[in-house]
C-alpha cells in the first residue's frame, strides 16, 4: 500500500523539482541577457540628462519609522542629500515608543504645525504634523501605530503632493544618485511605467561615512554572507528575469517608486497586509489588467539601496517568517488572479509561480525529506539514485548562485576586492546545508503564522547605520 503512495509522491517531487529548476534556468538566462543590455544602456544614458531635464517629475519620499532612534537622524540626513532636482521627504513616526520623534525634533528643529492632513486613505489617527525650520523639504508625521508598515506609509501618502512616491525604509541608505537612476525608466516612458524598483544590497561589512557608503566590502558573519548571496540571487536573477518578461510582482518595500494617483486610487498599501510591497504591486497588476491598460512595472538594478540585514538567527528567522506570512496573505487575498485569463501572463505564469514555487516550496521540501526518510526506513530507497539526485540539486543550486555572481561581475562589480570575489564564490557552495534547511523551517513557520492569523509588524534587531555603531565595519 505504502509503495504506490511513495511512488506517486516521488514522481510528483521529481516533476516539481524539474519544473522548478527549468524556471530558474530560464530566469537566469533572461537575467544575464537583460543585465548586459541594461548595463550597456546605463553607460550611454547620462544621469545628467535626467537631472537637468524639465520633464523629470518631482517625488515624495515616504519613510515609515517605528522605533528607529538609532538610525533615523543619519537616514534622514542621507536622504536629504540625495541628488534629485525636486523632492519632499515625509517621515512617519509610527507610534514609536523610543526617542525617534525626539531625535528628529532635536536634530532638524521641528515645529508642530497645523499642516492640512486630508485622510484620503484611511489610517490610524495622526497626532501631529511637524515642519522643519532648517529643512523645508522635510515633513514629519506623528501617528498612532497600527502595528503595520502599510498604515505608516499610507499616512505619509496622504500628505504627498508630488506625482510619484518613493517608499524607503528608515533603516536603509540610498546611494546619492539612486533617485535619478530609479526614475530613468519613468522619465523615459512616463505614460506606461507605473512603478519602478531598485536593488537592495547588504550594507553589513561596508564602511559608512557621513551618511553614505564608503568602501563596499562583504560582511564577515556567516548569516550575513548568506544573505548577501540571497539578495544577489533574488534581485539580479529573480527580479531582473521577471522584469524581462514584464511580469514583475515585487518591488521591494525598502526602495520603490510608485505613481501617486494610482496608489491612492487603489487605497494605498493595504492595511493589515504584511507583505505590503508585494501586495501593492499585485493589486496594481490586477487593477490595470482589469482596466485593460498598457503599463509596465520596472526593475532597475543600478540604483542601490543599502540595508542592514539581521545578524542573528532569531531576528533573521522572524524576518523570513514574516515575509512568508506576508506572501501567503497576499496570494490568498488575490487568489482570484490564479489561472484567470483576464490577467494574462500574470494570472497564468507569475501568480502560479508564486503559489507553487515560492509559497508551498517549503511544504514540498518537507514532504520530499519525509518521503525519503520513509523510503529509507522501508528499504525502498535507491541509495545511488538518491545520491545522484542530491548531488544534482547541490550542483544546480550552486550554478544558479554562481550565475548571480557572474551577473554581478559582468555588470555592476560592487565587490572589487579579489578576496571578496573569492568569498562570494565560496559561499555559493556553502549555502545549501544547513542554511537552506533552516530557511525552509522559517518559511514553514511563516505559513503557520498566517494560518494562525498573526499580523504584527515585528522589528528586527539592528546595530544602526551610524559610523560609531558599526563594529563590523571597524573590523576590516
Amino acid at each position: 500500500m505504502i509503495g504506490p503512495i511513495l511512488q506517486w509522491v516521488n514522481t510528483l517531487m521529481f516533476f516539481y523539482y524539474l519544473a522548478c529548476n527549468l524556471v530558474y534556468l530560464r530566469l537566469l538566462v533572461a537575467a544575464i541577457k537583460a543585465s548586459v543590455l541594461q548595463n550597456r544602456r546605463q553607460k550611454t544614458a547620462w544621469l545628467d540628462r535626467v537631472r537637468r531635464s524639465p520633464l523629470t517629475p518631482p517625488i515624495s519620499l515616504l519613510v515609515p519609522a517605528h522605533n528607529e532612534e538609532r538610525s533615523i537622524v543619519e537616514s534622514v540626513r542621507s536622504l536629504l542629500r540625495l541628488d534629485y532636482p525636486d523632492f519632499e521627504l515625509i517621515v512617519t513616526n509610527d507610534g514609536s515608543t523610543d526617542g525617534t520623534l525626539l531625535q528628529l525634533i532635536e536634530h532638524f528643529q521641528l515645529t508642530q504645525s497645523d499642516y492640512l492632513y486630508l485622510p484620503q486613505i484611511e489610517t490610524k489617527p495622526v497626532r501631529g504634523v511637524y515642519l522643519s525650520r532648517t529643512e523645508r523639504r522635510l515633513i514629519v508625521l506623528d501617528k498612532e501605530s497600527d502595528g503595520s508598515k502599510s498604515d505608516a506609509i499610507n499616512a505619509a501618502m496622504n500628505l504627498a503632493s508630488k506625482p510619484y512616491v518613493c517608499v524607503v525604509d528608515a533603516d536603509s541608505m540610498l546611494e546619492r544618485d539612486g533617485l535619478l537612476r530609479i526614475m530613468a525608466p519613468v522619465v523615459n516612458d512616463p505614460d506606461r511605467v507605473v512603478a519602478a524598483g531598485g536593488i537592495v544590497r547588504v550594507i553589513n561589512g561596508s564602511q559608512v561615512k557621513n551618511g553614505s557608503v564608503g568602501a563596499v566590502r562583504l560582511p564577515w558573519g556567516f548569516l550575513e554572507m548568506m544573505q548577501v548571496q540571497e539578495y544577489l540571487r533574488a534581485f539580479l536573477i529573480g527580479r531582473e528575469g521577471w522584469n524581462a518578461f514584464n511580469m514583475l510582482l515585487i518591488i521591494s518595500g525598502a526602495f520603490g517608486v510608485f505613481r501617486t494617483d494610482l496608489c491612492k486610487q487603489l487605497g494605498g498599501f493595504r492595511r493589515g497586509a504584511i507583505g505590503e510591497d508585494l501586495d501593492l504591486v499585485v493589486r496594481m497588476h490586477r487593477h490595470l489588467r482589469e482596466q485593460e491598460q498598457k503599463y509596465r512595472v520596472h526593475f532597475v538594478a543600478d540604483p542601490v539601496c543599502w540595508t542592514e540585514v539581521p545578524s542573528t538567527f532569531k531576528s533573521l528567522g522572524n524576518q523570513r517568517a514574516r515575509w512568508h506570512n506576508g506572501l501567503a496573505e497576499c496570494l490568498w487575498h488575490n487568489r482570484r488572479m490564479l489561472f484567470n485569463s483576464r490577467y494574462g501572463r500574470i494570472g497564468w505564469v507569475a501568480i502560479p509561480y508564486m503559489w507553487f514555487f515560492e509559497l508551498v516550496a517549503p511544504v514540498f521540501e518537507l514532504l520530499g525529506w519525509m518521503s525519503i526518510l520513509v523510503a529509507a526506513f522501508l528499504g525502498l530507497l535507491s541509495e545511488r539514485f538518491f545520491i545522484q539526485f542530491l548531488l544534482f540539486g547541490y550542483v544546480f543550486s550552486t550554478l544558479i548562485s554562481i550565475g548571480s555572481v557572474l551577473i554581478e561581475e559582468m555588470t555592476y562589480r560592487r565587490y572589487e576586492n579579489w578576496r571578496d570575489l573569492a568569498r562570494l564564490i565560496c559561499f555559493c557552495f556553502l549555502e545549501h546545508f544547513p542554511y537552506r534547511q533552516i530557511h525552509s523551517v522559517w518559511r514553514l513557520r511563516g505559513i503557520w503564522q498566517y494560518l494562525e492569523g498573526h499580523h504584527a509588524w515585528t522589528k528586527i534587531e539592528r546595530v544602526g547605520l551610524g559610523e560609531s555603531a558599526r563594529p563590523s565595519a571597524a573590523g576590516i
Partner: protein
C-alpha cells in the same frame, strides 16, 4: 517489490539526472573559469589602459595641436579610444575657445570621419556606439549620418541618433526629427524626443510652431509640450490659439508656455484656463499663474484655491505663497471665501514654504514689523496656531519670541488656550512655562469680548 527510485531509474529519470548533473557541473566550472579569467583580463587591460591614459594626458596639448601627428595614435585602437574619450569628456565642459581647438582636432585627426563611416556602415551596437560618439562631438558635419540613424530598425540606434541630434543645439538638427515626427515615422520614447527638440529649437521656437500647426493629431501634444518649455513673448497670439485647442494636453502645454514666455496677455489667457473642465489643464494654469508672481493673479489663484481638485488647490496655494508682499491681503481674501479647506491649504503651504517663519522673523525688523504683524494675525484667524505657539517657545531669537508672544497675547484668540495645554509638558523649562502662563493671563480675561471682535473681523 522494486524500490520506487529503481523504477524511476528504469524509465529514465536516473539517466537524465546523471546527464543533468554532469552538465551542471560543467557549467559551474565553466562559469567559475570565465569569472576569474574575465576579472584577470580586465585587471590587466585597465592596468595597461591607465598607463596609456597617463602617457596621453602628458602629451595632450601636443595631440590637440597636431604636433604629434594623428597617425601615431589613430592606428592603435586603445590609444584612439583613450584620446577620443578624453576629447569628448573635455568637450562637455570646455570654454568656447578650447572647444574650438578640440573640434579642430576631431576633424583633422580623422576621428570624425571614422565615426561617420562607422555610423553609416555598421549595424547594431557598433552603430549605436558610433552614433553616440558623433552626438557628443556636436559638429554640424555629423547631422547627415545621425539623420540616417533615425531610420534604423533598432530602437536603441534611433534613440542614440535622436539624442545625438539633440546635443547639437542647432535648429538644423531639429528639422529631420520634426519632419519624421509630424508624419508619425519616428518611434522613440517621448522623453528623448522632447529633450532633443527642446535643446535644438530653443533659439527658434517658431520652428516648432510651424510643424505643430501642420502635424498629425498624435504628434501635436508632444510638440506643444516642447513649445511649453521654449516659448518666447512674441508668440503670444499663437499661444492664445493653442489655449483654445481641442486637445486638453495642448491646452495644458499652452499654459506652461505662457508661464515660460510671460507675454502681456498671459494673465488673461490663463484666467480662462483656470475654469477648464480638465483638472490637469487647471493645474498647469495655476502653476503658470504662480510662476508669473504678479499681484493681478491673486483673485484667479484664490479661485483655484477653492477648486474641487486637491492638486489644483495645493498649486494655487503655492503660487499665492510666492507673493510675499501681499500675504496679509491674500489671507484675508482667503478667509472671505469661507472655504475651510482652501484656507487651511493656504496656511499649510505658508507653513511648509517657510512663509510663516519668515513673517515671524520679520517681527524683529522694525521696518517690516507692521506688515508682518497684520499678516500673522490674519494667519492666526486662518487657523495657524500650533506653529506660532511653537515659535513663541522655540524661536532662536529672544526678541522675536517676545514680539510674537505680545502679538499672540493681544490677539484675543481663545483657541490658542486649548492648544497651549499640548505645549505645557512637564519637561518644559520654567522660563518657557512662564511665557505660557503670561499668554494664558493675557488671553483668558478678554476671551469673550475679543472672540466677538475676531468674529466681527472674520
Amino acid at each position: 517489490m522494486p524500490s520506487v527510485s529503481k523504477l524511476l531509474g528504469l524509465i529514465g529519470p536516473a539517466g537524465l539526472i546523471v546527464q543533468a548533473l554532469l552538465a551542471s557541473l560543467a557549467a559551474v566550472v565553466g562559469l567559475l573559469i570565465f569569472i576569474l579569467l574575465r576579472r584577470g583580463a580586465r585587471h590587466v587591460y585597465f592596468w595597461r589602459r591607465d598607463r596609456r591614459v597617463l602617457e596621453t594626458r602628458a602629451d595632450w596639448n601636443a595631440i590637440v595641436a597636431g604636433t604629434i601627428p594623428p597617425k601615431e595614435w589613430v592606428l592603435s585602437r586603445m590609444r584612439r579610444e583613450i584620446v577620443e574619450g578624453i576629447l569628448l569628456d573635455r568637450l562637455e565642459v570646455a570654454p568656447p575657445k578650447e572647444a574650438q581647438e578640440l573640434l579642430e582636432c576631431v576633424r583633422f585627426s580623422g576621428l570624425l570621419d571614422t565615426r561617420v563611416h562607422e555610423a553609416r556602415t555598421w549595424r547594431g551596437w557598433r552603430r549605436h556606439k558610433a552614433l553616440l560618439a558623433l552626438g557628443r562631438m556636436r559638429v554640424p558635419e555629423a547631422i547627415p549620418a545621425l539623420t540616417e540613424g533615425l531610420d534604423d530598425a533598432e530602437e536603441e540606434c534611433r534613440i542614440a541618433a535622436t539624442r545625438g541630434l539633440g546635443r547639437m543645439g542647432l535648429p538644423r538638427a531639429a528639422v529631420p526629427i520634426l519632419q519624421r515626427l509630424s508624419t508619425g515615422k519616428l518611434q522613440v520614447p517621448s522623453s528623448v524626443l522632447l529633450d532633443a527638440l527642446i535643446n535644438n529649437c530653443r533659439p527658434t521656437p517658431g520652428l516648432v510652431l510651424t510643424f505643430l500647426l501642420k502635424s498629425a493629431d498624435s504628434a501635436k501634444p508632444l510638440l506643444a509640450r516642447v513649445l511649453g518649455e521654449i516659448a518666447t513673448p512674441d508668440l503670444d497670439e499663437d499661444l492664445l490659439l493653442l489655449a483654445s485647442d481641442e486637445s486638453s494636453e495642448v491646452r495644458a502645454s499652452a499654459a506652461r508656455a505662457l508661464a515660460c514666455a510671460k507675454p502681456g496677455l498671459a494673465v488673461s489667457i490663463l484666467t480662462g484656463l483656470v475654469d477648464d473642465e480638465e483638472w490637469f489643464v487647471r493645474l498647469r494654469a495655476v502653476v503658470a499663474l504662480g510662476e508669473l508672481e504678479d499681484p493681478r493673479t491673486i483673485p484667479v489663484l484664490l479661485h483655484g484655491l477653492c477648486d474641487r481638485n486637491r492638486q489644483v488647490r495645493i498649486r494655487s496655494a503655492c503660487g499665492l505663497s510666492r507673493l510675499k508682499n501681499h500675504l496679509e491681503d491674500i489671507i484675508c481674501l482667503a478667509l472671505k471665501t469661507q472655504d475651510a479647506y482652501a484656507v487651511q491649504e493656504l496656511i499649510s503651504e505658508l507653513e511648509r514654504s517657510g512663509g510663516i517663519f519668515e513673517m515671524v522673523t520679520a517681527l524683529g525688523d522694525s521696518r517690516r514689523r507692521a506688515k508682518a504683524e497684520a499678516a500673522l494675525l490674519a494667519a492666526l484667524r486662518g487657523g495657524c496656531r500650533r506653529i506660532l505657539l511653537d515659535l513663541v517657545l522655540h524661536h532662536e531669537n529672544w526678541r522675536t519670541r517676545g514680539a510674537l508672544a505680545r502679538l499672540l497675547g493681544h490677539s484675543g484668540d481663545s483657541e490658542l488656550l486649548k492648544i497651549m495645554e499640548l505645549f505645557d509638558s512637564p519637561g518644559l523649562p520654567v522660563r518657557k512655562r512662564r511665557v505660557l502662563r503670561w499668554l494664558e493671563r493675557q488671553l483668558a480675561p478678554t476671551q469673550a469680548s475679543l472672540s466677538q471682535a475676531v468674529r466681527v473681523v472674520a
